[in-house]
Symmetry: C4
Subunit: 261 residues, 4 copies
């Protein structure tokens, strides 16, 4: 149970980081698969990520429905998460967001969104674009049922990110810390690629080998990954909830000088 406690605290931290880094605003959400039951996942009820507290977190099944009685309103698009968990046993965390900088790539699809900066490697070599209209015709563009969720998951396939035309993106990773990292760097990579296009001339993308080299060695708690997580958590004012995997004291920001790591 103590592991679950950490998982829920990390989910609160993750919500606050995505809000502070402007990946999400009033809308957008992040979930984590239940480490004790792969058929369930945790997602906040319908509230802005910036305001998510522990009590807001709801446990849902792979059909997108809450596993216990739940009176409070849920995110309409929880089916994005459910369908990706269903299709991808390897995935432990999912983000859906509308981050502005990636929108053009879903609208003007002539320019595929690919890594051009080293921190963008986490988005993966291929970022497909999903258009809900292809299968469902005219809709309100929201993924509000499992059929739509599954179609999105099918487009995502084995990739890390799928852009959702005129809407946003869905990202998926092997850990919470990695899905947050990739979601924070996705807009940054998009900005760099857009500006490179504006400069004109040949663009040097990261090679497949470079993307693989950066992805090698599964370690969500490497020093460099932890440093960003800790930095972002403190920046979001939620550093006090941090849990280091090795039990060492946590650095809670510039007012704490007793750090040792």
């Amino acid at each position: 149970m103590s592991n679950l406690d950490t998982v829920l605290k990390d989910l609160v931290i993750a919500n606050r980081i995505l809000a502070k880094e402007e990946v999400v605003d009033a809308y957008g959400h992040i979930s984590i698969r239940n480490p004790d039951n792969p058929k369930h996942f945790f997602l906040a009820r319908s509230v802005a990520p910036e305001l998510v507290e522990r009590d807001d977190i709801v446990e849902l099944g792979l059909d997108g429905q809450p596993v216990r009685e739940e009176k409070r309103a849920l995110y309409l698009e929880r089916f994005i998460h459910a369908a990706i968990y269903e299709a991808r046993p390897d995935i432990q965390a999912v983000v859906h967001a509308h981050a502005e900088d990636i929108l053009p790539f879903g609208i003007a699809q002539a320019t595929p969104l690919r890594p051009v900066i080293h921190s963008g490697s986490f988005i993966g070599a291929n970022v497909p674009v999903w258009d809900i209209a292809d299968k469902f015709g005219d809709t309100n563009l929201l993924v509000t049922n499992m059929a739509q969720g599954r179609d999105l998951a099918k487009c995502l396939a084995n990739n890390n990110v799928a852009l959702m035309r005129g809407h946003g993106f869905a990202s998926a990773a092997r850990s919470l810390i990695e899905v947050v990292r990739l979601s924070v760097y996705l807009p940054r990579n998009a900005r760099a690629l857009m500006r490179a296009k504006m400069l004109g001339g040949k663009i040097k993308y990261l090679s497949k080998g470079e993307i693989d080299a950066r992805n090698k060695g599964y370690s969500p708690y490497s020093t460099e990954t932890w440093r960003a997580w800790e930095y972002w958590a403190n920046k979001a004012g939620i550093g006090h909830l941090l849990t280091r995997p090795d039990g060492r004291p946590v650095h809670t920001g510039k007012h704490d000088h007793k750090h040792d790591h």
Copy 2:
């Protein structure tokens, strides 16, 4: 009378949201038709939206003039509001603003401003551009009388937004919460379209069917619409004035854990 009290509180909230979201700055304004008298509307006196308080609100007639004696200076461009209320019995709220991101579309009219992102659907399928010079020749570009206001209202026709060349925009909706929402998302949609153009290639706009699907079912208090209103109000520091239509307690931000909706 209690409904009027809520209406005036909501107008204060709306002013503060538009200021915080940078739709307006020192200039720009928002009004609401008097629910008890369609020949009148409420608009602040001439003060920056960020500073609007209840006492600043003035009641005007459809000729743009105050219905009671009023010594304080009024917005020069109140005729935008008056003329739109006069021409459009369906409209209950109006915004005029200079939001930077929409200005290029009024200046370089070769690219019509149309919805490209789902939250941009609220601007409507068609956004006409009004040029005061067409009928009035050289002016100071401000709408300072009913003749100019009516010409703008005629250009707006049955649409939700009209761009005002070299000036800003006027938006109109069936409720205050909806005109705020569309005015906040209008610049965001403009940015997405501009960036899509910069990427180059074919642009996928929202279809008429998608715009209609998102507009279907008049509900300014749906959970999703309310969530943005509440989120923006709290962000603007005015959450304490919020009134939920169903009487349930209001979430006043991250320091309040007693929310239940």
Copy 3:
């Protein structure tokens, strides 16, 4: 003397406004001609505008030198101000700044910077570009003597603004409040024009008649001009120094409800 007291307070306010609105940063300055002696002007000593206090203000002659003994370091480029006051008896206030958004127009001169938005009318119909290299060859690009200042003033001629290639701009107006307003709107107009160019197609500039209509009637204290000055002063946290010309109480911002104007 009380008029001089107001003049110096206004100069402090103006410095803070330009800093807050990001027209200036560590560098940049604003001056006002001495209303009691046209051969002198007031300019702060060499300190960031954000930090300017009353005691920092120095009185200089039209040769750019202090009129009293002055031990503290002065702005190297005070000669911009001196030369413009010397050449233009109509000018009462001058700004020099490096505001980022105007820099491209001095670097890529194929696109003249002209008013495209109504608030941009104050920059005037023509904005010449001055290149120090034309007359002085290779320099450090700073205007550090009267010869350079006079060459810049000659380029400025009767216009309101001259861009300084690879450096920034110099603006001049009939009053402090007007030079601040034009300097704040200059970058905004530059952004709108740049974005209009990026959209492509024909650009509609303000006509000469529109520029003139907006400039007609010299009134630095019209309600609309005052509203921006007051709004910006409060935003910069310096509202307590405001002086209304008509003696009415000053609105010091959202914490003051006792306003009546």
Copy 4:
């Protein structure tokens, strides 16, 4: 020893300035050669620059390894600093950062990054682009050993800045204050050049003579250079650590009126 005390305080200030000015974020670092031993340099341990305190600073040798026993994690890319100090006896301070605005120039190399604004002169006439793949094939793009560091230093040659393709930049200068200044202005120059390109037409770069004129006379403590350092230090909230070279009191920001310089 008192000089060393100042050196370490300045290094803390420099870290905070680069963070506040958004040249660095969670990643990025700055070092200074030990004035008492040119074979050593000072660099913080692996922590975000925004959080660097005196105790975080570690002394390293020109092999990138700590000179004393050090348990705490070090920056993986400290070899950038070591190799540049090894190759360039004239260099006393080095920065490595990922500042967004320069990234496009390393990705789309058809447009060389050259000074176009006067404050950009400090980046030097030539900014080479280093691509780690040229010599090392597919890597994770990080400079994590001396071989890679030396290859980067070779590309840098006698220049002030080298862009690192898809990664960021490395800058080097004769003093800490100068490397901070050039690193802060590098992104600003990049933005101006990108926008000039977007406007189209011929671009006027700074001439070699202008760059030299601005670089003439080595004086990291000239009034203008000091003014920016002091301004940035205060802006970063670290002004209390400032040391003026002439012993005069330090201006600690807008709450301190006892300044005299």
